[in-house]
């Protein structure tokens, strides 16, 4: 079947999508967007987190067919040109990346968390990111990164910046 969908603000038509194919597969294998990762394909790790119509979700659990006519944002769509998104910059600055395999999913999940709650407490951060497994970092610096991003984003918006 053919799927028409908007990914990272660009309209795409994807052919030969078969029944039962996941959105994750379509993004990675058919659309050249390997940023979202496949670490379990069971909805248990969050490595594949993307936005579907503004809601963060596991792309491995969404059928590609469900993307028809919908709006998808992946980690590749967060940075503007060469400028990193503040969440990405915060992960880099806080040392929240080790192997980096979980990172794209965590970046999207953090982006989503801060959109819902711009100044989360530590415990809220931990609960909100509980669906994203990271085997390397022990989460400590990921929590730091979320707080760093929250602080920076709050001060730019308070300062009337972008």
């Amino acid at each position: 079947m053919r799927i028409t969908t908007t990914v990272n603000n660009e309209r795409h038509e994807v052919d030969d999508v078969w029944e039962g194919e996941s959105l994750l597969y379509m993004l990675r294998e058919r659309m050249g967007l390997p940023g979202s990762k496949n670490a379990c394909e069971q909805g248990e790790c969050g490595s594949c987190t993307v936005y579907l119509d503004g809601v963060a979700a596991c792309a491995c659990l969404i059928a590609a067919g469900q993307a028809e006519g919908r709006d998808i944002v992946t980690v590749e769509g967060l940075a503007e040109g060469d400028d990193l998104h503040p969440v990405q910059q915060a992960f880099l600055d806080a040392g929240a990346v080790q192997c980096g395999f979980c990172t794209p999913g965590l970046i999207v999940a953090t982006h989503d968390l801060l959109a819902r709650d711009p100044r989360p407490e530590d415990s809220q951060i931990r609960e909100s990111l509980a669906g994203n497994l990271c085997r390397c970092t022990g989460y400590e610096k990921i929590i730091d990164a979320v707080k760093l991003a929250a602080g920076r984003m709050a001060s730019t918006s308070a300062g009337g910046g972008a």
């Binding site: 194919e21 390997p34 670490a39």
Partner: protein
């Protein structure tokens, strides 16, 4: 000999942001699974559901006819090409090992073993056809309980005639490093005997293993999500009979390993053999379930300890009898893992007598091999647990018993009873700092209050003072331990004409940030900007020599190779600089990237010199126009990081829930190149160690089926499961290498497991509990409390199985009073007093 030098260190010690991260956070990096080659075929594996059986027939016809399927390959089809997967560590001359084909030919020996491989046009078509292969098995008796297997009975490999692969002994009296342990036990005023179980764990790196092979062209190229591209290349050449020079192995960005990707895997051999046979590029990427099922597991030991001490708590001897479950096969370093622990049971203490006996046992389970710490976490757990038991017996604070036994700062260098030479350390300093940060005395006071008031939530304080051996390893030591390879590392430093620097390293990072840390080292050494250094790795064609990354060796050995190569560059540059400056070589000094003539203003920068060498217009007589240099560094000794970890746990005595309230650690990893990276390594390590204490266990049912087959059942912790950590450092630089570094990759994992379990036991000791088997699930803790308060023993079973609603019979767990139910033995001073499971495995030796 002290070789640490004082040098201006602009970069070393800085919390540089990592060079690797830009590509990782934008999702634009190269993982093996992202790779697509023209005409590439996809593989899927047919795996045995049976743990032990003879293959009586394989019908592949239906699978072959399935859409898109190109071929179905069985073990018989490639019997001549696949060889036997390598084990590089025969720990004894008479070690027994079965042949280990990548695709099983006649028998399967664990559930998950590959019995056929599907090759299809798409990955989905290959996976669809897996179901269509019809394999018939004649069941053989399944061997799962290592303690029973050690005694005989059913055999994992009937051809071997025994389940014991090897027995390895270290005895301080025989080695001349100490006295006779039996004498010490005979004379001991206090004897404590304990059995601890190291449950089976799964490395669970986040990036599943993935392999792409391109056989077109003169050379065959393999991309693999591996920790060990160099070792893999050599082993594949030897296993499959391919000329080494015809193979190129590339480890692109690799998503974690933790020892789990320190392996030569069946999947790699199969992808190589099949793609060469078909002449087409092939890809195989495992699913998470396959990864959990068949990538090697870790730990899985039963440790029986006998400790003798004087009344004042001075330890006089330690005897360790170990059973180690190899699983069905010997992987790359499987038999050596428990041996790496053998040198660490004495930890930071001055034990006069020591004996270690290890039996390696075959069972019909996935094979075990290195997992973060590999042998050392097991040893550290056991000694730190039993030191707490000794403290309880003597009636002093656990910290006090450690102080009475540890090596004092002024006693370094110290030769241990296990034959190691500890170069530096300061256990007092790390402990003082940790206690202060933690608020040790205040927490002890709170614990006392809660005990007195009968608070249902009790507070426990766990201590773990650990050391480990890092920097694997001096080649001569590996030789003495019968390991097949050396322990050196290699590096090349090239001065490019533009003044930029290219560094090739034989280490193979998979999350550790070598590109950043090595750049810092070279920037300081050559006096060039950090950003001008480019570090290349993980490709046997680019960084041709190396022994890869594991055992906290990369910085200690690989970093030193980089230093040595950079120093050679300086040496090569000197006569050329002297020539260009028209000065005597002896009058030159190299500082901050410049060769200057002493006592004058004349100087030339190393970048400028690089261009002069490139153009080669004006070279001194007989000097080659190149500043490139390479170095192979073989360490003179291991390094010995240490630290003090303190954990406060609140145990709800009504629900059995154990919650970590505070975790504070002070580690001494010697000189720190990049504190941001070091902290991250400690944090990640802590979580893996805590996960062993509280959550994780690979469980088999009594037919040998892995029941923790996904992240739903195998409980890798999330952010919500983990506390905040307070980490700090002391610094006693290693004197065995010029950087003064010690290694940090495994420290957190090694130290944290006993800290947590000690804290839980400490919270409950006044209730008569002196052990809880790992993982300390609420059910286990609750059961231990119940059995104590009702004065009953809990029945032997794995509580984890009961927790998950799965069948509660689990023969892999040794029989015997379970879960600390036999806890506080009032007869602790008696030689026959034992804890969990000792009846069935006390005869480990």
């Amino acid at each position: 000999m002290t070789v640490t030098e004082d040098r201006p260190a602009a970069e070393i010690g800085q919390a540089r942001r990592r060079k690797e991260d830009q590509r990782l956070i934008t999702g634009r990096t190269k993982w093996t699974d992202n790779l697509t080659l023209p005409g590439m075929l996809h593989l899927a594996m047919v795996r045995s559901p049976v743990a032990h059986g003879t293959i009586t027939s394989i019908d592949v016809e239906e699978a072959k006819a399935s859409p898109g399927v190109i071929a179905v390959i069985t073990g018989r089809d490639i019997a001549d090409e696949q060889g036997s997967l390598p084990c590089a560590w025969p720990i004894t001359e008479d070690q027994l090992a079965p042949p280990h084909p990548s695709i099983a030919v006649d028998t399967v020996n664990f559930a998950g073993e590959i019995v056929a491989c599907i090759v299809a046009r798409t990955a989905a078509q290959a996976k669809d056809a897996v179901e269509l292969v019809d394999v018939e098995y004649d069941d053989l008796p399944v061997v799962l309980d290592m303690a029973a297997a050690a005694e005989g009975g059913d055999l994992t490999h009937p051809d071997l005639g025994t389940n014991v692969s090897a027995t390895w002994v270290f005895d301080s009296a025989e080695a001349g490093t100490g006295t006779n342990v039996e004498d010490a036990i005979q004379a001991g005023e206090i004897i404590i005997e304990r059995t601890y179980r190291q449950q089976r764990l799964i490395p669970a790196f986040m990036e599943p293993r993935s392999i792409v092979v391109d056989p077109t062209g003169e050379q065959t190229t393999m991309w693999s999500a591996t920790q060990i591209p160099h070792i893999l290349k050599l082993m594949l050449a030897l296993t499959c009979g391919i000329s080494e020079s015809k193979l190129r192995v590339i480890a692109p960005d690799v998503g974690g390993g933790f020892g789990g990707k320190l392996q030569v895997t069946p999947e790699e051999v199969i992808t190589l053999v099949v793609s060469r046979r078909l002449g087409r590029p092939c890809k195989y990427t495992e699913t998470r379930s396959e990864s959990i099922l068949a990538a090697h597991h870790g730990r899985d030991q039963i440790q029986h300890l006998t400790l003798s001490a004087n009344r004042d708590g001075t330890v006089t001897g330690l005897k360790v009898e170990l059973l180690a479950d190899m699983g069905a096969y010997l992987g790359l370093v499987t038999p050596g893992v428990p041996i790496l622990g053998a040198f660490m049971y004495n930890s930071i203490y001055k034990f006069p007598a020591y004996r270690f006996v290890c039996k390696n046992i075959f069972t019909n389970k996935a094979w075990t091999d290195a997992y973060r710490g590999a042998g050392r976490p097991e040893a550290t757990f056991a000694i730190e647990r039993i030191m707490d038991e000794l403290a309880a017996e003597v009636g002093v604070d656990p910290m006090e018993i450690r102080e009475r036994n540890w090596i004092k700062p002024e006693e370094f260098p110290f030769s241990t009873v296990a034959g190691m030479e500890y170069d530096t350390g300061n256990y007092e300093a790390a402990t003082d700092k940790a206690k202060q940060l933690f608020g040790y005395d205040e927490l002890r006071a709170e614990q006392q209050r809660r005990r007195e008031s009968g608070d249902p939530v009790q507070l426990g304080i766990g201590v773990s003072t650990f050391t480990e051996m890092c920097g694997l390893a001096p080649s001569r030591v590996l030789g003495a331990l019968s390991y097949a390879a050396g322990g050196w590392e290699h590096a090349t430093v090239r001065m490019l004409p533009s003044g930029k620097v290219e560094v090739l390293t034989g280490t193979s990072p998979h999350g550790q940030g070598h590109e950043t840390a090595w750049s810092q080292i070279v920037a300081d050494r050559l006096g060039v900007p950090f950003d001008d250094v480019e570090v290349l790795h993980g490709d046997t064609q680019i960084a041709a020599r190396g022994l890869d990354s594991y055992g906290s060796r990369s910085l200690v050995v690989g970093g030193m190779a980089v230093v040595a190569a950079a120093d050679k560059v300086i040496e090569k540059a000197k006569p050329i600089a002297a020539h260009l400056l028209e000065a005597d070589v002896d009058d030159l000094e190299f500082e901050a990237g410049k060769f200057g003539v002493r006592g004058t203003d004349a100087s030339i920068g190393i970048g400028e010199l690089a261009f002069a060498v490139f153009s080669a217009h004006n070279m001194p007589e007989g000097v080659e126009p190149s500043l490139d240099a390479e170095a192979t560094y073989d360490p003179v000794n291991f390094s010995f990081p240490h630290g003090t970890h303190l954990c406060a746990v609140e145990v709800d005595t009504e629900t059995g829930e154990a919650k970590i309230r505070d975790y504070t650690c002070v580690d001494d990893v010697g000189k720190v190149i990049n504190p941001l990276i070091v902290e991250g390594q400690v944090h990640g390590g802590l979580v893996q160690g805590i996960a062993q204490a509280l959550f994780e266990e690979a469980l088999y049912d009594d037919s040998g089926t892995l029941v923790t087959g996904s992240f739903v059942d195998y409980l890798v912790p999330s952010a919500a499961d983990m506390p905040h950590f307070t980490t700090d450092r002391t610094e006693s630089p290693s004197t065995t290498n010029a950087l003064g570094v010690k290694g940090v990759g495994e420290a957190g994992t090694i130290a944290s497991t006993p800290a947590v379990v000690n804290a839980i036991v400490d919270a409950l000791r006044h209730l008569g509990i002196n052990d809880i088997e790992m993982p300390c699930t609420p059910h286990r803790v609750w059961s231990a409390i119940q059995s104590r308060s009702s004065g009953e023993e809990t029945p032997a079973q794995s509580q984890n199985v009961a927790d998950s609603g799965l069948p509660s019979h689990n023969v892999t767990v040794s029989e015997g009073p379970a879960d600390g139910g036999d806890g506080a033995d009032p007869n602790v001073g008696r030689a026959d007093s034992t804890s969990t499971g000792s009846e069935t495995n006390g005869g480990a030796a």
